[in-house]
Amino acid sequence: MTLTTRAEASQKPGTGRPARRRSLSWGRATPFLLVVPAVLLELIIHIIPMLVGVWMSFVELTQFFIANWSAAPFVGFGNYGIALDFSGSIGKSLVHSFLITCLYTVIVVAVAWAFGMAGALALQRRFRGQGTLRTLFLVPYSLPIYAGIITWSFMLQRDNGLVNHVLLDNLHVIDTPTFWLIGNNAFTSMAVVNIWRAWTFAFLMLMAGMQSVPDELYQAAAVDGAGTWKQVRYITLGVLKPVNVVLVLMLFLWTFNDFNTPFVLFGPTPPPSADIISIHIFSNSFVNWNFGLGAAMSVLLLLLLLVVTGIYLLVTSRRSRRA
C-alpha cells in the first residue's frame, strides 16, 4: 500500500504531499508506539499511586473513611501540620525517627562502601581461589531479602541464637546472654544486617568499575615511582569516580528508605532505637489507621529525598566538570 502510494506520488509530484505525510507519520509514530506500553505501565505502577498518595495526604483518611475514600473530608495541610508540629508527640517522634535514619544511613553507606572497596581491591589481583571468593561475597546479595534477614533474626535470638552462642559459650566475650533485638542493641543489629547485604552490592559495582581501568595506567604509574597506595588513590579512585557517584547515591536512597530490614527483624513496631523513617510511616498509617497522616509523612520524605538527591547530583557533576 505504501509502495503504491509512493509510486503514485513520485509519478505525480504535485499530489505527493499528503501521501508522504501519511507514510512519514507512521515512521514518526513508531518510537512513540514502542514506548507506549512502558509509559502506560509506568503511569499505572508509579505515577498514579504516587499522585494518589499526594491526594491522600490532604484528606482525613482515617478508619471512618477507609471503606469509602471519596467521603474523606479535605483537610488541606492539616496532616502536614500534625507531622511537622515538633512540640507535639507525633512531630517529636518523627524528628527522632528522622535523626535515627540519618545516623543509620551514614553508618551503613560508609561501612558498606569501605567493605565493598576493600573487597574489590583485594580481588583485583589474580590469585588462586579468586573465583570462589568472588562467588562467596555475592551470596548475601543473591539470597532473597526476606530469607536472609529472617536467618539473621534467628541468629540474633537471645536463648538459642548463634551470635550469643559464639560470644558467650565459645569466645567468652560476654557473661550473660545479650538481647540483640530489643533496646539499643536493636540499632546495631539492624545496621549490621543491612551492611551485610549492602556491601556486596558496592563490591559488585566497584569490581565492575575496576575492570575498565587499563593496566597501562598502573604500569606507567609504577614506572613513575607511585606505590600501591598512590595508585589506588589517584588511578583507581579517579577512574571510579562516576561509578562512585551513582553507587553512593543508590546506597543512600536504599538505606534511607529501608523497610525490609527493620520490618523482618522487629515486625511492624520496632524498638525506638530502630524506628527508622519508612517503618515509622508504616506504623503511623497502619497501627493508627490514619492513612492521611502517613501519606503526608511520605510526601515529606519524598520531597526531602528529591532535594538531597538534586543537591548531591549538582555538587558532584559540578566537581567533575571542574576536574
Partner: protein
C-alpha cells in the same frame, strides 16, 4: 489507512494494558476476594483466624464442616486460614481496597473499630433472623458485636476468657495451693522460680502486643483504672491504669518470668514453655488447652485452672476482674455478591450442632444459649472458665478507637517489658510517660 492502523494499534495497546490490569484484579478477587457464581453452584470465600494448634490444623478441623455445609446448601466455601499477626492488617487492606472475602473471623475486641469503617454488613433484624435470631446467642458474647445502640456488624462465634493455668505437680512439690490473691501469686511465683534450671514462676508472651494490652486492661480494672472515659476519650495515664501496667510489668521486674520471653510474639510460645515445665503458671485464654496438649505433650490432669486473682484488698475503685469477654466474631463484608449464601454460612457456623463440634478442637466456650462447656472433660476447669465469663469478665471498651488502643498501649507495654527484661528499672514515671505517648498517638487516630 496507515494512520488508522496506528490509531487502532494505540487503542489496542491501551486496552490490552488496562485489560491486563483488570485481569489481575479479577484474579486477586477470586483468590482473596468475593466469591463467584458459576454453573449454578455458589462459592464464597471465608477467612478463618488461626484457632487451632497450627494453620494446617485449622484446615483439617474446618474442612469436613465446610464439606457438610456444601452438602446441605450447595454453597462451596473457599477457606483461607490467617495467622493472628497478619489478620488485622489483611482486614484493613481488604477494607481499603474493597476486595475482601465474603465472610471472615475477627477478634471481637475489634468489632466497634471495624464497624466504624463501614466495610461490614450491619446485621439488621432481617439479617439476624436469617442467622437464627439475636436470642440464640449468649448475651455477654452478643454484646461484643459492635458499638451499643447500633446494628452489630458481627456475631459471636467462639467464646474465650482468661484463666490462670498452674502446673499441679510443681505446686504440690513446693507445698503450694493455687493463689487466690495477686500477692499470693507473686510469692508463689518467686518460690517456683529457679533460673539456673531454666524454670520460672510465670510464662509470658512478652512480645505480643495483644496479650500486653489485655493485661493492661484487666489489671487496670483491678486497680480502678478505665482506658476510656464515658465520652470515649482515652484516659490511659490515670493512676489506676499506671498501677495496672505496673502490676503486669512487675512480673518481669521481679524476675519471675524468663527474660527471653519478651521476644515471644509469633505464636503459642508461652503455653509451650508452661507445657514443658519451664514455667509453673500461665495466664491464658481457654484456647491454650489444645496447645498445651498438642505442642507441649501435657495431659489435662497435669494442670489446673483458677481465675486470675486480684490484689487483696482491692485498690480504691478496683474491681475483681479476671478477664475481658474475649472471643472470635463472624462478620460479612458489605460488598459481598453472595449475601444469602454468606448469611446461611454464618447461621451454619453458629448453629448449636456446629458449636458443639468446633468448641472441642478449638477449646472454646459456647456462644449460643444452653450450650455446654465441652472442650474439657475436667469439671473443675469448665466451672472455673464458666464462672470467669459469668461473674468476672468485662467487655473491652466498645468504641471505634479500641483497635488503636490495643496497638498503641500494647506496644507501649511491650517496650516497658523489654526495658525490665534488660535489667533497667521501670518506674511509675516511665510507665506514665509511655502511656502518655500512646495516648498522644490516639489523638491522631480520631
Amino acid at each position: 489507512m496507515k494512520s488508522r492502523t496506528i490509531a487502532s494499534t494505540v487503542v489496542l495497546l491501551a486496552v490490552a494494558t488496562t485489560a491486563a490490569c483488570g485481569g489481575s484484579t479479577e484474579n486477586a478477587s477470586s483468590g482473596g476476594g468475593s466469591g463467584s457464581t458459576a454453573g449454578g453452584s455458589t462459592t464464597i470465600t471465608y477467612w478463618a483466624s488461626n484457632q487451632g494448634t497450627s494453620i494446617q490444623n485449622d484446615k483439617e478441623v474446618l474442612g469436613p464442616e465446610l464439606k457438610k455445609f456444601e452438602k446441605q446448601t450447595g454453597v462451596h466455601v473457599d477457606l483461607q486460614v490467617i495467622g493472628w499477626p497478619d489478620l488485622l492488617n489483611k482486614i484493613l487492606a481488604a477494607t481499603t481496597s474493597g476486595q475482601g472475602p465474603d465472610v471472615l473471623n475477627i477478634g471481637n475486641t475489634w468489632a466497634a473499630s471495624l464497624q466504624a469503617t463501614g466495610a461490614f454488613m450491619p446485621f439488621d433484624s432481617k439479617a439476624l433472623d436469617a442467622v437464627g435470631g439475636k436470642d440464640k446467642f449468649v448475651e455477654a458474647s452478643f454484646a461484643t458485636g459492635g458499638a451499643p445502640g447500633k446494628d452489630p456488624t458481627s456475631v459471636p462465634l467462639y467464646g474465650l476468657v482468661y484463666g490462670l493455668y498452674y502446673n499441679k505437680k510443681m505446686f504440690a512439690d513446693a507445698g503450694l495451693q493455687p493463689p487466690t490473691t495477686w500477692q499470693e501469686l507473686m510469692t508463689d511465683a518467686k518460690k517456683l522460680t529457679n533460673p539456673s534450671k531454666g524454670v520460672y514462676g510465670m510464662a509470658m508472651e512478652g512480645g505480643s502486643y495483644t496479650e500486653s494490652v489485655h493485661f493492661a486492661f484487666i489489671f487496670g480494672r483491678q486497680n480502678g483504672g478505665q482506658p476510656f472515659d464515658d465520652s470515649g476519650k482515652p484516659t490511659f495515664t490515670t493512676p489506676g491504669m499506671v498501677a495496672g501496667v505496673k502490676q503486669y510489668v512487675d512480673l518481669m521486674s521481679q524476675k519471675v518470668v524468663n527474660p527471653s520471653s519478651v521476644q515471644y510474639k509469633n505464636g503459642p510460645e508461652a503455653p509451650t514453655d508452661f507445657a514443658k515445665g519451664k514455667a509453673a503458671m500461665l495466664m491464658s485464654q481457654n484456647n491454650a488447652d489444645n496447645v498445651l496438649q498438642a505442642n507441649g505433650g501435657m495431659k489435662p490432669s497435669e494442670y489446673g485452672v483458677v481465675a486470675i486473682p486480684a490484689p487483696n484488698p482491692l485498690p480504691p475503685g478496683g474491681k475483681d476482674v479476671a478477664s475481658f469477654v474475649a472471643g472470635i466474631n463472624l462478620s460479612i463484608f458489605k460488598n459481598t455478591k453472595n449475601k444469602d449464601a454468606a448469611l446461611k454460612f454464618v447461621n451454619f457456623m453458629t448453629s448449636p450442632e456446629e458449636q458443639a463440634i468446633l468448641d472441642k478442637p478449638y477449646t472454646a466456650l459456647p456462644v449460643v444459649k444452653n450450650g455446654t462447656v465441652n472442650f474439657t472433660s475436667k469439671k473443675d476447669e469448665a466451672k472455673a472458665f464458666a464462672e470467669v465469663l459469668a461473674n468476672k469478665s468485662e467487655p473491652l471498651p466498645l468504641v471505634p478507637a479500641e483497635s488503636a488502643f490495643e496497638t498503641n498501649v500494647g506496644n507501649a507495654v511491650n517496650g516497658l517489658l523489654a526495658q525490665a527484661a534488660t535489667g533497667k528499672t521501670v518506674t511509675d514515671a516511665d510507665i506514665k510517660a509511655a502511656l502518655q505517648q500512646a495516648q498522644d498517638k490516639m489523638a491522631s487516630a480520631s
